[in-house]
Symmetry: C2
Amino acid sequence: MTDNDRTEISDLGEFGLIEHLTANFELKQAFSLKGIGDDAAVVDHQGRLTVVTTDLLLEHVHFDLMYMPMKHLGYKSVVVNLSDLYAMNAEPKQITVSVALSNRFSVEAMEELYDGIHIACERYGVDLIGGDTSSSVKGLVISVTALGEANEDELVYRDGAKPGDILCVSGDLGAAYMGLQLLEREKRIYIENPQIQPDLEGHPYIVGRQLKPEARRDVIELLREKGLKPTSMIDLSDGLSSDLQHICRQSGTGALVYESKLPIHEETYNMALEFHMDPTTAMLNGGEDYELLFTLPADESYKVLEMEGITIIGKITDASEGIRLETKNGNEQEMPAQGWNHLG
Amino acid sequence: MTDNDRTEISDLGEFGLIEHLTANFELKQAFSLKGIGDDAAVVDHQGRLTVVTTDLLLEHVHFDLMYMPMKHLGYKSVVVNLSDLYAMNAEPKQITVSVALSNRFSVEAMEELYDGIHIACERYGVDLIGGDTSSSVKGLVISVTALGEANEDELVYRDGAKPGDILCVSGDLGAAYMGLQLLEREKRIYIENPQIQPDLEGHPYIVGRQLKPEARRDVIELLREKGLKPTSMIDLSDGLSSDLQHICRQSGTGALVYESKLPIHEETYNMALEFHMDPTTAMLNGGEDYELLFTLPADESYKVLEMEGITIIGKITDASEGIRLETKNGNEQEMPAQGWNHLG
């Protein structure tokens, strides 16, 4: 097999590669004083607070290149970090990206990855200011750190929920998880019989939610417009039941979630049925939705009802009541808590 | 074989593990407002600049657990990042650490790693403010991001060297590289014949330089005491010839290095001879010394001569002269440039 479009990483060398890949990244933030190319990057925060988050993504653990295009992977690697900053009510400003790769990857593959990173940077207005590339024995490893800014009074932590607060979520739930189930199924079919082409038609929403999630900047902006500041907030990366636990544990509260209020997309619902799975299980335990889960004082409910794409799904209760689910038939039960545990 | 001291990671779970490992890390920096346990960490820089650097370390690429104890690995993972901040003349303040590990590793092994991280944090006065753990298919991956602070007029970049400047280096060169050669040799012997115990006696310096390097905070402090601000600076991670290239390329200069001035430790010298290697090759191309290479105006030379542990090894020249080495016998030749290229 000839592959005329393949350039070996070794043709460029380590320094050449990172220069090549980041050549079209311009520093746009006025306060990104120094980007890639020195021992460290320099950021001026002009007295505002710096908010920092980091994620380490490994091939075969956090992503599968059999169905995840490199460009999407680059985009998603950035977005999942920005999502964490929005969940603090902070504004993302800069990222660093380090990549380790084996010689299985060509320069063109890395270009795709950095294209995706670039598109995410453009879309969310953040600068790539640091990072490097090195080799791996096997597989691809991506480490992204994101820096954001906020004034102290703007920050929203996980520990501020109060009994009586309403519990709200943006968007819909379980779609990324059902997208993953579909992709995994088609992968298995393809491995068993490469003649059969993957059938992803008719499921653009759930596949897109898995491969190209967005961080909910729009929700943060909408809350600000409405003059609303959540008492607590978290982004849904591990799944509603697991992430709600973080809020309750850190706030010292319980919570009651109404099954009938949980927002679901039609495609998610149908795919769950196709997999003989309770759609509620997908909504409660499916990870990677990157929606925002937040609490607000109950007397702000009327403002939330006016906000498109935000659903009130429950309320915060006393810690003694635990985290409970009111099912569609009116029973209350302990919230089934089986998160998206990467160490499971 | 029974192993009573082994606790499986799965006994704690992902959230349990990171909580367990970081329980004894207190935030000491007054401006580390929020550490581990939320979507992101929060840092108040009070109007000073934020300096950011990140490193991704992979087992079998950047370290070998056959001779690198976990505690040392934790320590070194932090130190190599702090070294980058000192090379900017910035003060390290906070770090984030993400770890991915396979089920080969026990909780006790992770405790050792975090012990080393903790010791480094204590020694250098930095706070661990974020990060996480996840699983890997195979091997250990460590990603460290370090945040530092500086006033704008304190920062030293790589691009400020001027023809005529003197070229200075702290400590001695090539020791970490010769330590690595020794460790690799003893590993090979051990693999071939496990009866033979590794013979590291008599080489504490070079082994220590490889397994437990320090970041040269003391040099930064000494320069400050003397009222000296380098015109350019870099830390020696890839090797003198490679790192000097960065300074020259970014400053638009050449350089002349005097072979006879290069500082070497007796153990390094003897081990190079034992390996039938020119000691100069170890000094020029050996990586991981984490010494500081910096330039100063020539009229500051007299102050440098008073500074213990700092050696003037050459001078900055016009770009047209390239990067050259004046050998011990008085010849000038192009600097042999074969860095510590992880993608080689």
